[in-house]
Symmetry: C2
Subunit: 196 residues, 2 copies
DNA sequence: GTGTTTACCGAACATTCGGTCAGTTGACAA
DNA sequence: TTGTCAACTGACCGAATGTTCGGTAAACAC
């Protein structure tokens, strides 16, 4: 027998608790989830959770940061900030879909936050900052004449990213196609239209 | 002095309690709302609420029915069941936006339900039935060759109604345009595309 | 073996939850 | 003036909530 590669004590850690928690939060809603629910999902008692993480709200905060960090890293990229606005917009939409798929549970949680606590308020503030970025991008695309002028840019932004965000309502990594295929289909509909 | 036009006792009734409740449910989430929160919003004590309505879950049930009834009445209309599929689809999208705007708080609540209780499960079941109707409609439009063949009908359905439903995330009756204008813009984007 | 650390349990904590109920208030009718 | 009744209040209930804490079994270090 080869030497065991450092047998772990077999248990949970902050990361695995977070992953499980976000799963349950998305099933039942954050407020609809009790620490007892989390404990059951993890196969331990309530108190074991507090050994790994400081509490329920910290779990939420960490999850929300994970979603928001992804979005902000993305819009810091050069492809989001230079070039023709319509191409930057297309890239940002494509990457938004990718992040949404890569970090599905975290983004799903983010999109359901209503500002009930300082933690949620902070996440909402960051999210609104992201929204302002894309809103500005759409305005630029309209100004350069790349998108139809008969719909207000502010409305375009909301409809376009409403479509992107709605993916969290049904996407399942196992069934659905890849993020690239999904983004492609979304861009076909929103940029070129469904009608033949 | 003219006779007083029947001075009302000045108080609440089941309808006003429901309206206020749905407002608070949408602000803080159903699970995040306590009966104490509702009482504060109504300017009465908790127990006064129980004089008008049987309880918290009944408020939710009535609100969800109000949204679902609107949707089902709509798809029972002749314009949803006869004619070219693409025109029926356009009509259903347009009416969905109208119902969403007319019954905004109720539809908003419906779209956030996750099935935590039998009441929510029942609403989810009805909603899925509605989804099947529109899903079938999109398939018919694809079969008659009215929509682009390079995106799966199931995916088109989800993206299209994801866009419609996302309106609840930002629409404010005071600011936004009418339901007709909104539906028009949405159809321009999804049917004909944003790109010039 | 002895001591230490890791990962957990079980019981308890104060608080909040949805809901109940006996009583009070004030408008109105007779 | 008296009685009725709709509309409420305030005190309270048992259950559930998030969190704390003393203890403990097993793995590891020496």
């Amino acid at each position: 027998m080869a030497t065991q590669p450092r047998q772990r004590k077999r248990g949970h850690d902050p990361e695995s608790v977070l992953a499980a928690a976000v799963g349950v939060f998305n099933e039942r809603g954050y407020d609809g989830t009790s620490m007892e629910d989390l404990a059951r999902a993890l196969g331990v008692t309530k108190s074991a959770i507090y050994y790994h993480v400081p509490g329920k709200e910290q779990l939420l905060a960490r999850a929300l940061d994970r979603a928001l960090d992804g979005l902000f890293e993305m819009i810091a990229d050069e492809r989001a900030t230079s070039g023709r606005a319509i191409e930057r917009l297309e890239w940002v939409v494509r990457q938004s879909v990718r992040i949404l798929v890569d970090r599905l549970p975290y983004v799903t949680l983010l999109l359901r936050v209503r500002g009930n606590s300082p933690t949620e308020q902070h996440a909402l503030d960051r999210r609104r900052e992201f929204d302002r970025f894309v809103s500005h991008l759409v305005k630029e695309a309209a100004a350069e004449g790349s998108i139809r002028p008969d719909v207000e840019p502010a409305l375009v932004t909301r409809l376009l990213f409403g479509t992107v965000n709605s993916i969290t309502e049904w996407y399942q990594p196992a069934r659905g196609g890849s993020a690239e295929e999904l983004a492609g289909a979304l861009l076909k509909m929103t940029f070129d239209g469904l009608r033949v």
